[in-house]
Homo-oligomer: 191 residues x 2
DNA sequence: CGTCTATTTGAATGTACTCAAAAGCGGTGG
DNA sequence: CCACCGCTTTTGAGTACATTCAAATAGACG
């Protein structure tokens, strides 16, 4: 729980009062999930977002051929969900699932909206969080367009070494937009 | 100006009071720009975001080889800027420039922050705006990973016909992550 | 252990790229 | 007005990065 408080304070750049945080934390509940548990499912309207206290998870997109494409990885201190569905209330197009046994703080949409509308600090927190997510994704996108697989992998190693350690290779490949065979060849060249 | 008000009301799903809107509009000023005017420049900290009242603009990333990659197009009713730099206050890595002679509403960062911190409705507006931008970009990203150039172009035609009309082909190609020659070949096949 | 999943390696293939050049379009000035 | 210039689009031929298909090896889990 204090992991979330730290995350909020780090994100907005100021401390929370105990009161503010405790008000917000009443909107959340803690829950443990087994490995491979589906947190969000394509075809369902996604009702929750999850803050990882322990463990790991990822979200992915399944294309028409049934191929899965990793969208986001979440380790401790990350939020994960199908944000498309959560924000738009529409049928989900992504899946999210745990990679390890995990403990999460869970926030449902009604509470998310109430918190945003009644706690300016929290509204701010989520605005900044999503701003950061947006600029990160935009950068990942332009690198996907402009750099080859080898350079993108090198960049991932540099910026997210924890992913390389904890996420299986075929998912890292998918995240980079290549096939597991290609990533294996890249790793072979650069030990 | 009323274009912005409509955009806000459409985005947050409720109307603004005249008072709220007029308070917010005091943070903005209107400005005309010639075609090819740089709105945000790589290497500079980006101080403004621009809401297009008339005309068009786009943002792009320049890679190590000097190749330009279109990141976003903006027509009337769109915001455009280097959001990475604007939000983070860091040296910009994107450029933004007008494609036609344009009129914009300009919002500087200090005013953006003041507006977000003093006008809950506006904070909400920008949070939802960026949420929408995020989910759109995420979808564009997974389609980049999972669909070939032809399918991505067909999708762009369907979802953003106005882009096809008003944006030069070499920029559309770049936006799709392909070369102008390739887009030309795709268009040749599918008239 | 045995089975299932993940990773590695090899060879052939394909989508989009590069290089190259021609044709089309648009604006500018003589 | 049209001739010219620069920029955009088209078309052709050869190429490359990553893919597909295939199979062997390695690793994880019950």
């Amino acid at each position: 729980m204090h992991l979330l408080r730290e995350n909020i304070e780090k994100t907005i750049g100021t401390s929370l009062t105990d009161d503010e945080f405790s008000t917000f934390s009443n909107f959340l509940f803690e829950k443990a999930f087994d490995k491979k548990h589906l947190l969000a499912e394509e075809g369902q309207v996604c009702q929750y977002i999850y803050f990882l206290l322990k463990g790991s998870a990822y979200s992915y997109y399944t294309d028409a051929e049934g191929e899965k494409h990793a969208v986001q990885f979440a380790l401790e201190d990350f939020w994960v969900s199908d944000l498309y569905s959560f924000f738009s209330k529409r049928t989900g197009i992504y899946n999210a699932e745990t990679l390890e046994n995990s403990r999460c703080l869970v926030l449902n949409r009604a509470n998310f909206e109430t918190a945003c509308n009644t706690l300016p600090t929290i509204n701010n927190y989520f605005r900044i969080l999503i701003q950061n997510a947006f600029v990160s994704l935009q950068y990942r996108f332009v690198r996907r367009q402009s750099a080859d697989a080898e350079a993108r992998y090198a960049e991932l190693m540099r910026t997210h070494p924890a992913f390389i350690q904890r996420i299986p290779q075929y998912l890292l490949a998918s995240y980079l937009g290549i096939k597991p065979q290609s990533l294996s060849r890249i790793r072979h060249k650069h030990p």
